[in-house]
Structure formats: C-alpha cells, structure tokens
Point group: C2
Chain length 418, copies 2
C-alpha cells in the first residue's frame, strides 16, 4: 500500500534588513520572559566580521547575559562538536542558544543544544550504524539560527552534519527536535561573504531546490506508520512550491550577487532563495548530488579555494554538491522529463537541457571545471562510489533506484564539465 500523507514543519521566520537587531526580544518571547543567559555560537571567520559581537550586544541591551563560543569548526567534526559541548556545559546553564554563522555554526549549536538538554554523549545520537541513533527524549532549549551565508538552509532543517574523524566518514544527527525554533535571516549579514563563498553556498541553494523538486514523490513510497514518519518525506505540493520559487529567485540574482557582493538587492534575493530552498528540502529531502558530495568533501587532498580558511584543504559543501549535479540530472532526466524541463526554464534557460543550464551557471560564477580540478581522477571513481553508497538515507529519496554503476557513471561524467 502506498503512502497518502505528507508532513510539513518549519521554524518561525523573521526576514529582512535589520532583523538581527531584535534577537534579545525574540529570545525573551521564546523563553516566556524568563531568559537570563544566552549561549551565542559562531566561528572564527564570522567572528572576525564583528557581526556576532553586534548581535551579542543587541541581546545584552535587553538585560540578558551572553556567553560567546567562537570556535565552531567550518565542516564540524565529532572532536569540534565535543569541544563546543564541553565549553557549553562548563559555562552553562543557559536559557537559549543563538547561532550566528554558516551551516557549520548552526549545526554546532544544534549539537550543543541537544547535549545540554538530553542525557548521554554525542555518538549516542549520531545516525546508526555510525552512532547509536538514539532519539532525543526531551525538548531542546529555544534555538535562534542567524545565517550569515546564503546557502545551507541549516536554519530550517532538522539535521546536524559532522565528520567522524576516526572512521573518516561524514554523517549526521537527524531528528525533528533539532529544527531551530526561529530563523532570523538578515540580508545585511550576508554582504561580507567572499565571492567564492557566495558561489559555493549558492550552488547548495540550487541543489537543495533541484533535488527536492526532483525527489521521489511522497505518495510513491510505501505507506508508513506514524512512528515511521521522518522529516524528509519526499517531494510534495508544499516543498515543490518552495523549490520553484527558489529557482526563480536564483535565476535573477545568483550571478549578480557573485560578481558584485555589494548589490544589496541581489543579496536579499539570494537570502530569500536560500530560506525558501531550506524550507522546501527541509521537508522533502535531497538525493544523488548530496550523496556524492560526502565522499568528495571527505577525500579532499590539497584543494584550497579562495575565501575559505586556508589552514587545511577543503572542498566547500556547496561546491562538492554541485560538482556531480549536471551528470546526476542527466542520469535522472527520464524519471521526470517535464520536471527537468521546467527547472531549466525557471533557471532562465531557453530550451537547453538542465545539465547545460547548470554547467553554464557554474562557469559564470567561477566554480572549478570539475572533479579533476579538485584533484580527483578516473582512478578515484571506485572510491568515490563506495563513499556515496554509504549515504543510503539520501539515495532512498532519489526518484529511481540508484546502483553502483549509476554512481560510477555520474562521477565519471563529473571530471571535466568544460
């Protein structure tokens, strides 16, 4: 018997220039006026912009004490999360958590909030089989997520992504309780993103929208019992709407925001696109490009893009995701030709296939030309396929069954895009 029900949930949202000035008031509302101490989580790069201090001062002006943890790691690991948790346990108790930064700061805040409120250790809650897959039994502290990059949608989602260092695997913690209580999206905070961060994070928006828009339809899954329902329930009428609108916004603003970071209107449209895509994929799910991104990011050798911390090699998340997108959408086309045609059109294409539209956009915003430029070769394909196959939770959201051979075709088709 097939499924007939879909679910939808979202954080409260405050959107617009200046929205981040009011967070002290918002925290008090969420805490029924009883908040005294707030933990603010950010990362060193974002802290250097001065924005987290400004947010902290605004919260203090409402009579609250703020403790700042500014050592979130870009691409969190179990070790970096443990450090944040230990800091918070030591500096607590807190009444609320505020995250200011990209997906890494927001995800770090989710893990900290989880372990401040629920018993056990971090690995207990990490998705099985890597971790214990434990369900958080108690509600978390109110979490206000304030994104400073326009990409991850972490402010809307129920997942915290991390690398487990000893196992060299990227995995996550996923539960409805991890969804932030309130997303405060202030386009003014995104103006300082370097061009490559805007380009890479923007590709994350694009893939959130395209993957949720092309995900397996919710009613094509087997019927579930209520306790089996997950936040990511497949494409559905609501997620579709967010994805479509996000693609339209990207078509009008992505190139502009990358080429002129001071274009306030383009920044605002990108912030809206990121929020919309997050609200969509946060309920539908993502699939092939995201599954392929895990081993690409995890197996990086010495690639160091401009605009990111240069202390170690990194393939930024959005860049890792979009690298296989043209080949993945070529592979997935026949599952829903009309959707692929419509997506290309929403992105401003004029009749070309979706992969062509994607490659042109990647090139226009200055992304690397393919996996080869990131340091991968044909000899890495088997290894990358093995890594992608581990992301069964994501692959299950694809509109067709995805085999080892299919993934190899996708990776081989992603070495050189132009």
């Amino acid at each position: 018997m097939l499924e007939s029900v879909f679910t939808y949930a979202a954080p409260g949202l405050k959107f617009g220039r200046g929205a981040s000035d009011e967070i002290g008031w918002d925290v008090q509302q969420l805490c029924r006026g009883e908040a005294r101490r707030v933990l603010l989580v950010t990362d060193p790069g974002v802290a250097a912009t001065g924005q987290p201090d400004r947010v902290a001062d605004g919260i203090r002006s409402r009579g609250l004490e703020v403790v700042v943890f500014a050592r979130s790691r870009v691409e969190p690991t179990d070790a970096s999360l443990e450090e944040a948790i230990a800091f918070a346990r030591d500096a607590g108790p807190f009444d609320a958590v505020v995250a200011v930064g990209g997906g890494s700061s927001i995800d770090t805040a989710k893990a900290v909030d989880l372990l401040l409120t629920n018993e056990g250790g971090l690995m207990d809650y990490v998705n099985a089989p890597v971790g214990g897959g434990r369900t958080p039994e108690r509600p978390l502290l109110p979490l206000v997520a304030v994104p400073t990059t326009t990409g991850t949608g972490a402010e809307s989602t129920t997942i915290c992504v991390l690398d487990v260092l000893a196992l060299k695997v990227k995995t996550g913690i996923s539960h409805a309780r991890l969804r932030p209580t309130l997303a405060v999206v202030d386009p003014d905070l995104t103006m300082t993103q370097p061009a490559m961060v805007t380009a890479s994070a923007g590709m994350d928006i694009l893939c959130h929208a395209l993957e949720s828009w092309t995900a397996r339809w919710f009613a094509d899954f087997d019927a579930k019992q209520p306790e089996q329902r997950v936040p990511y329930c497949g494409a559905n009428p609501i997620a579709d709407m967010w994805a479509e609108k996000s693609l339209s916004l990207l078509a009008g603003s992505f190139r502009r925001a990358v080429h002129d970071g001071s274009d306030a209107e383009a920044r605002e449209q990108m912030a809206l696109a990121a929020t919309f895509a997050g609200l969509g994929f946060g309920n539908a799910g993502v699939h092939v490009p995201h599954a392929c991104a895990y081993p690409i990011a995890g197996r990086v050798r010495d690639y160091r893009p401009a605009g990111y911390p240069d202390d170690e090699p990194i393939v930024p998340h959005g860049m890792a995701v979009v690298m296989t997108a043209p080949a993945a959408f070529a592979f997935l086309h026949d599952a829903a030709p009309e959707r692929h045609r419509r997506a290309a059109e929403l992105l401003g294409g004029t009749g070309e296939p979706l992969p062509t539209v994607l490659r042109r956009l990647m090139r226009d915003v200055g992304l690397p030309s393919g996996l080869a430029e990131l340091g991968f070769g044909a000899g890495d394909v088997d290894d990358l396929v093995e890594g992608a196959l581990k992301q069964q939770r994501l692959l299950a959201t694809a509109p067709v069954d995805v085999t080892e051979d299919d993934l190899a075709t996708v990776f081989r088709g992603s070495l050189e895009h132009w």
Copy 2:
C-alpha cells in the same frame, strides 16, 4: 522610516487522506509521551457525521482518555465560548486539545485552551476596545486542529472570532499563542460538506488568497519595534506564494467540488487550497471584504441557506465575505493593477477584469446574487458602513486608506451582482 522586516509562522502540518487516523500518536509527540487526557471539541452538525467519534476512538486506541465537547456553536458567541470554557474547566485537567470541525469548532477550542491555561476571564482577552486586550502570558496546551470544512484556515491562524451578544458586535481574540500547534488536514473528512457549505467556505478561501495577495505590502507600513509586530504583517514574498498557489488550485477544483461532492480529487485540491490560503493570510492579513463581512453577518434578518443549521437566520462567513468582493476589488484595482490582472488569470480568467471573474464564479457555485437576496436594501448601507468602519484592524491592511464613502460605494455595488 518604513518597515524592512516581515515575519512568518505556521503550525506543523500533516496532510492527506487518512491523516486523521494518527492523532493519538501526534498528541503524544506534542506532550513528550506524557499525555493522559484529551479534550475533543466539535459541533453538533459535525458530530452527527460520526467523524469526531472516529477521531476520538483513534486517540483512545493509543491509551489516552478523551472527553468530547460537541456543543460548539456555528459562529461562536461570548455565551457559547463561556459554556465551552466552563465545561472544560469542570471536566479537566487536560494535557491537549483536539478540535474537529469548521472554523467555529477550532476557534472555540482556541478560546477554551486559552482559558484553561491563562488566568482571568474571556472578555479580558478580547480585542480592545470591546474587551480588555490582555496578552496571554502562559503557553497554551498543544492544540491539534482538524478542519472538516475547506475554508476558514482557522487551523493556521492566531485568531478566534466571536460575537459579543450584549454589544451586537463581532470581534476576536488575536495572539500568536492561539495558533494551533499542529494542523491535521484529511480530505476524507471534507467529503460530507453540503454543496452550499462547500460554496460558501470556498469563497472564504478565495477571499483569503485575494485579500492577502492585494494587502498593503509589508514594507509600506511604518517601521515597528519588535514588541509592535503582529502576526498579520501585510503582503510579503511568502504570503504571496501561498496565495498564488491557492488561486491556481481553486481554478481547477472549486466548481467541481461544489457540483460533485464525491469528487475526491477536487476535495483534496480544495483542502490544499484552504490550507495554503490559511498559511498565507495567517501571516499577511485580510482587509475590505472581510471588514464588510462582519456587519453583513451580524445584521442578518431571516436568511437561511441550505446546508446550515436552520434553527436561526445565518449568513455563513464565506458568503458574507465574498458578497462585497467584486465591488471591493473594483475599488482597489488602481492600487495594484498588475496584481489584479494576475489574480484574474490565476483564477482561470481570459482577460476579463477580476470582478467579472469573481461574479461568474459566485454564480456558477450557486451563491445568492447579492446583498439584496440576503435581505438588505439601499436603506441598510449606512448601517453596514458603520459596522465595517469598526473593523479598523482589518481596514489598516488594505493597500489604500478606506473612507466611509469608499465603503458606501462598495456596499451599494454589492446589492445585485447579476
């Protein structure tokens, strides 16, 4: 200085055929597994369909005790709400409230939940100047709203509408805490709506979408302090999206659902349209047609439509709202010609002005031909205008300032639509 920020909030949503079978599980999730006793609020007409009993049995099958209050009044009054509150206080304590019915049952449940959890009396919380305008200080019990009509959007909104009998005025209680925690929209529950209920409630959907789509743009209001923000913040990019999609859904299903109530696909599309419009207007607001509906419903003489309780005269809410819509949108056209053109197009029009598209739809679904058929004449216009002017909260959401003369023109243009 003008506003730059908009806010958005929504209940969790479970949508689809069979969704109402799982409410016992949902209640336990919302109560962290600690729920024991649930109050189910419904009205006699809906109770007669057997659906509330079925929902109650489903909840009981999860080990919960359910007490049913089946005496909600269609169009609640202060007296009917007081009766429900007294019942609930007497039969409590409860861990959660479930409302099964139309907007009246859901609004009754909101008032009951408010007074089960917050001190004081009903009139303390009613909007000033009619009531005390008190702010609920404590969170309410989890409220699961299960609409059985496709119209009101009460499952998404922060307002409870009531008639204050002694003052002969329709007013409300409005606060973010009144928004249901979870909306369970099961199209199977809407199949029993009589044709006139489908037509009238459908017009409520239509006006929610059209009024939020044409409301004053959020950034055209004066800038607010955080404590001044209200759930209804004017048209904005998110509310726009819900409104547009709702209009498209109505274009494809409204006539079908009225003319063949057993058309399951049309019922599902109408349920989706109602949900979408509720999620939109629940954040943007409504204006002229809703303001005019209050005195139309309040001053009814002897109109008794098919499909509604026949113990007293009634102008159903959606019918009252749409009666002035063609004239109101003719009056408002020049404030945003492009939006009016687009709305007419989304509703399936082929170039005609929006009022023409509206009148045709009203006629096609069997609505009365105007205020005259409801028993009003030109001599009632002054009285109706006086009543509409009292709805300043709604009129402030209109895209232009609305004068006494403007309202008189709207009412006079609504006596006979064909």
